[in-house]
Symmetry: C2
Subunit: 213 residues, 2 copies
């Protein structure tokens, strides 16, 4: 595979390709043209060809893509051939939702621990994993090979928790706290800012309303 | 305000500006230069000026931005001067997390109803709002002025639920189901695809690893 800089927009589309191809696989579709894939995904066919050419292309002219091969190759690009160990900090509704989401396991993300500060939650189990006290977090991270920490803690606590996790060796933070974390360059942060998403929705709604007026 | 096409990248940054300015307001900061704002937000100062110029600019040369004014103007652009009525379809962990998120109210998003199919959940209350049976959804939507429906239902159910909601008059869908919805053009959809986000994280982690090797 060629080593070049892949744009953020392409990276944003890759999980969608992977998801769509997974759906096609489940329906036993063996082969798909970029035209069909483009209709399903509402991206132009040339966009799809261009995106995939970033990774050497996978199709044959007039022959389309082999769904299983393309799914597996995109999976490799996304790093999904590896398994990831995940811990969840914050066992509130959102943390529990993540812990209960079986789909993640199918993609190779395994929840190894859940931590909270609330004594009413500590000791409870979610899908067989006991919620531990955050007191145990440092030892746990240092003694287990954890790739990703999902942060579902309040905004005010997130920066300190993230800094501690990084100090103890975590390289991937999946941040749900509504704040941007300031972490070293060798740490990867992926943010899920729910209120930002809701504001984008209200922006689009108010734009539609202006057009309708 | 001039009427021009605002790029998706700018729209994606607006909620972040709004969030940062809100943080500054809470700290009683009255005025900020684009340089300071850029250091906080890790966006170049010229990017900030360029973004805000899309909306007529709000700063004075050498004088910086008035935080309260800029916050309120960006709020208006984001449609936040209006209040939104929201319903949640699916009262599992994720739906409950949304219902419990008090921050949304502060921004003008009010949860008016929560619906589920599970008899063990129906009748329970979350922050004073009773979970109703989905049987009542049609009447509720038709008899209340609901702006946004948050969809936290399983992937297989999402397309039908969304189609029904749109038929009954909903114009904004906040979709958490891991599938893309195919809805009429006058309906606004904002997706929160958690597994896509996790795949982006694994992509970035594996890229870092390649660089380290």
């Amino acid at each position: 595979m060629e080593k070049k800089r892949i744009s953020k927009a392409v990276i944003n589309r890759l999980p969608r390709y992977y998801r769509y191809l997974g759906d096609l696989l489940e329906k036993d579709v063996v082969r798909i043209s970029s035209k069909e894939l483009s209709e399903k995904m509402k991206v132009t066919a040339s966009q799809i060809r261009q995106d995939l050419n970033n990774f050497g292309g996978f199709g044959q002219q007039g022959y389309g893509y082999n769904v299983e091969y393309l799914h597996s190759e995109i999976g490799k690009i996304l790093g999904l051939e590896k398994q990831y160990s995940l811990i969840i900090i914050g066992a509130g509704n959102l943390g529990q939702a993540l812990a209960n989401y079986a789909d993640f396991e199918r993609r190779g993300f395994f929840v190894k621990g859940i931590f909270d500060i609330n004594p009413r939650l500590v000791g409870m189990s979610i899908r067989g994993i006991e919620i531990k006290n955050v007191d145990e977090l440092e030892d746990f991270v240092k003694n287990n090979d954890i790739d990703i920490a999902a942060l579902t803690v309040p905004k005010a606590k997130a920066p300190q928790v993230a800094a501690d996790l990084v100090k103890w060796g975590i390289k991937g933070i999946w941040n749900f706290a509504p704040t941007d974390l300031n972490l070293p360059d060798d740490v990867v942060v992926e943010n899920v800012h729910l209120s930002d998403s809701l504001m984008k929705l209200s922006y689009k709604l108010s734009e539609k309303r202006k057009l309708a007026d």
